[in-house]
Structures are given as C-alpha cells and as structure tokens.
Amino acid sequence: MPDYSPIDFAVPFFVALVLIEMIWAWRRRPQAYEPRDTLTSLAFGLGSSAAGLLTGAAVLALSLWLYQFRLFDFGAEWWMVWWAWPLCFVLDDLGYYWFHRCAHRVRWFWASHVNHHSSQHYNLSTALRQSWTGFFALSFIFRIPLTLLGFHPAMILFVGAFNLIYQFWIHTEAIGRMPRWFEAVMNTPSHHRVHHATNPIYLDRNYAGTFIVWDRLFGTFQQEGTERIRYGIVRQLGTFNLFWAVFHEWIGIAQDVWRAPWRHKLSYIWRPPGWTHDGSRDTSDMIRARWLERHGETATDGAEKPVPNDNPIAGREKPA
C-alpha cells in the first residue's frame, strides 16, 4: 500500500502556480491578492496537512476495519481491476458532493469547512485554505459508504487526493470561461467562483468537486452572472488572525449552545449556519428569499440594477 499522498508531489506545482498567478495579479489585477490574506491562506494549507498527518492513521485504521464488511470484493489484487479506479473516482466525487452540501447546511460540518471560505479573496492561495478540524467534525464518515461498497481504503484516499488536486486550479479569477462542453461537465473557475460568493443568489450553490453534473442533477447549480462577486462568508471575519479563522465557528457553536434554552441547544449544532431560535440571525435561505423579494426572480441572470463594477470577470461572455 502506498504510504505517500499524491498531494506531496503536487505541492511544488501549487507553489509555482501561485507565483505565476501573483505575477498575473501584479500586472493586471493587484487587488486579487492581499499579502496578509495570502499568508493566512498558505498557513492554513500547512496546518491542515499537519493535522491530516496526525489523524490520517486513525481514519485509515478505521477504514481498513470497515473494509472487512464490504459488499463487493475486487479480489486480493484489487488494484489490478483497471475500471475500479475511474469508477471509484466518480463515486468518490458523488460522495464529495454530498459531504460538501452537508458541510454548508449543517453547522457542525460548516464549523470545519468554513475555513475554506473565510478569505475575501479568490485566488490559488485560497485553494490551499483547508480545514484543520475536519477529523474532529467527522468529515470522514462521508467516505464510509465507498469502503463498504468494496473499494479499498488506499484506493479511496488516492482518488480523493486527485480530486483535491483538481480543485486547486479552479480557484482563480484569471480564467473567465472554459469551452462550453467543459463548463457543462466539469467544475470550473466560473462555477466555483459562484460557490465562494456571498451574493445572496449565489449562496449555497455549486457544491461540486470535479464534476459539476451533480449540481445540475440535484438542483443546486447556479450559472455565474454579470454582477460583481463578493467572496468570503456572510459575516466576514474582519481579521487576518489565523487561529481565529481556524476556530471561530467552533467557538460560536459553543457560545450558542451554552446560552440557548435547553430545548434549542442541539439545534445550534445540526441546523444550518445562521439559524437561531429567536430569529436574530439569517440563514442563507432567508437571505436569498429576502433578496428575491426585493429584486425579483428575473435578476438571477445578472440583469439586476447595475452596481459599481470593479470585477473585470463580470460581463465577460465569450469563452476564455
């Protein structure tokens, strides 16, 4: 079994591509980067891989134990079954879609995933802004079905790493649109910009990892329009402090559970982010509904009232 991760090999490429994008930003769009934000994002990436190293062994041990209860068996030489690899990749991507959807809709999972969204910038360094608390949030349970189906845990880890590597390049404003057929099937910078946006109409959309088809299939797809995109989270952090960025939502949960009346305590853990028992905060559904009430359904294609446009991507229609 390989004891390395493909991600280790990708890191030098990540660094080189961030550098190239910085040069692009320097020439075309200096506001795409903010040095303090970049440092926080990159430190997130480093801390996340350290956390993964600490907890990876436990996840692997659990998976190997569960593997004995598998439904199907690819045989002792499971790695020789060539079609199992692409099949595993596609099914893992489907699993990722549901993990990601839950990560946005259940506050417990969000507390970990919010790390990835806490930057107000959208560039390749944002891609490396990965959670430190994924294990604590029990994110790995979303991969258990695949193990029980009969895919070897090592295979799942391997294709999962490639999925993560795929998602790196789509975190950029330097690419407008890919060719039509590509945009139709694959997750792209355009689709994922929508996912990172806090514009009401874009909230909780485009959960895809590699294939955007899952969003089209399950009704969570949103096309990027022409309005200026704002990135980050509904309640922006307003600080570059790394540790606050890592733990703020966990602290928020703890405070809410502590203060809430007994019968509402659990709701602060499993209900959507922004839910309160007294309606004092907004969930993404409430924000979207209020926005649609004011602007009408027709505005979803970006035909809303013009806002000061400092986003050169908006309005770019033809494929890049």
């Binding site: 910085m22 200096p30 980067y33 600080t239 570059f240």
Partner: protein
C-alpha cells in the same frame, strides 16, 4: 523526521510567497467612496438594510449607518476589502479630543474585528445611537 524537514521547507516557501506578494505591492488601498457605496456595503452585512442616516469618515476608512429601527452598522476597510458588523450590546462608542480635533471611535465589541476611528460631523449623535450618552475625552 522527514516530516519535520518537509514542514520547515513548506513553512519557508509560505513565508517567501507572502513576502513576494508584499514586495510586488499586491493588494490595494481602498476607501469607501461615498454614502451610496457605504449603503451598498451595509446591505452586504444585512441583506435589505436601508440606512436612514449615514456618517462617512472623511478619509473613507469607515462608515456608520443607522436604519429606521435604530440598528447601527459599522463598515470598515479590511486589507484590500471591506468588512462590517451590526453593532450590538457589546459595542460602544467614544469621542476623543485631540488638539481640538474630535473623532469618534466605534468599537464593535469583538476583539478581533476591532474598532474604527471616524472623522465625522456630529459624533455625539452616533455615541448616543450606539451606547446612550457616554462621552469621554483626553488631551
């Protein structure tokens, strides 16, 4: 120990990248342009927020907005972007006097979100809007 070596190499790479970003002068010096801009930023804090009264800092680094219900939003420049907060029970406002120059300090009450210093007309109104009448001064 291979891990430690890898960790330190990555840490070095991170610091170098951030340093390069700084040397390249990436980021931008942004300001809140006008009241309309401030209103737009407040709408990002609370969707549908309609300001009845706006105090824009003369240098455009921060703004306070109040709606019909008396809710007050503080918007400030944060790096190359903006960030805002609905002020609550933990928030406070103070007027500072320095060589005859009066400025308003709005404290979000959140340690890491911090506070903003605003050079605005009639800061008293905002002090009372944010925390009742609580004026202090220093020379």
């Amino acid at each position: 120990m291979a891990f430690l070596g890898q960790f330190l190499a990555s840490l070095a790479a991170i610091l170098v990248l951030a340093w390069i970003a700084r040397r390249m002068g990436l980021g931008r010096d942004i300001r809140i342009r006008d009241e309309q801009h401030a209103q737009m930023l407040a709408d990002e804090v609370i969707c549908g927020f309609e300001a009845r009264e706006i105090a824009l800092d003369r240098s455009g680094r921060a703004a306070l907005l109040r709606d019909h219900a008396g809710r007050v939003i503080l918007v400030k420049v944060h790096g190359a972007q903006f960030a805002g907060r609905l002020l609550g029970p933990g928030s406070s406002a103070t007027i500072w006097e320095d060589f005859g120059q009066r400025s308003l300090e709005a404290d979000s009450g959140e340690r890491l979100f911090g506070r903003a210093l605003l050079d605005v007309d009639n800061p008293e109104n905002w002090v009372s809007a944010i925390n009742g009448a609580k004026v202090s001064s220093h020379a």
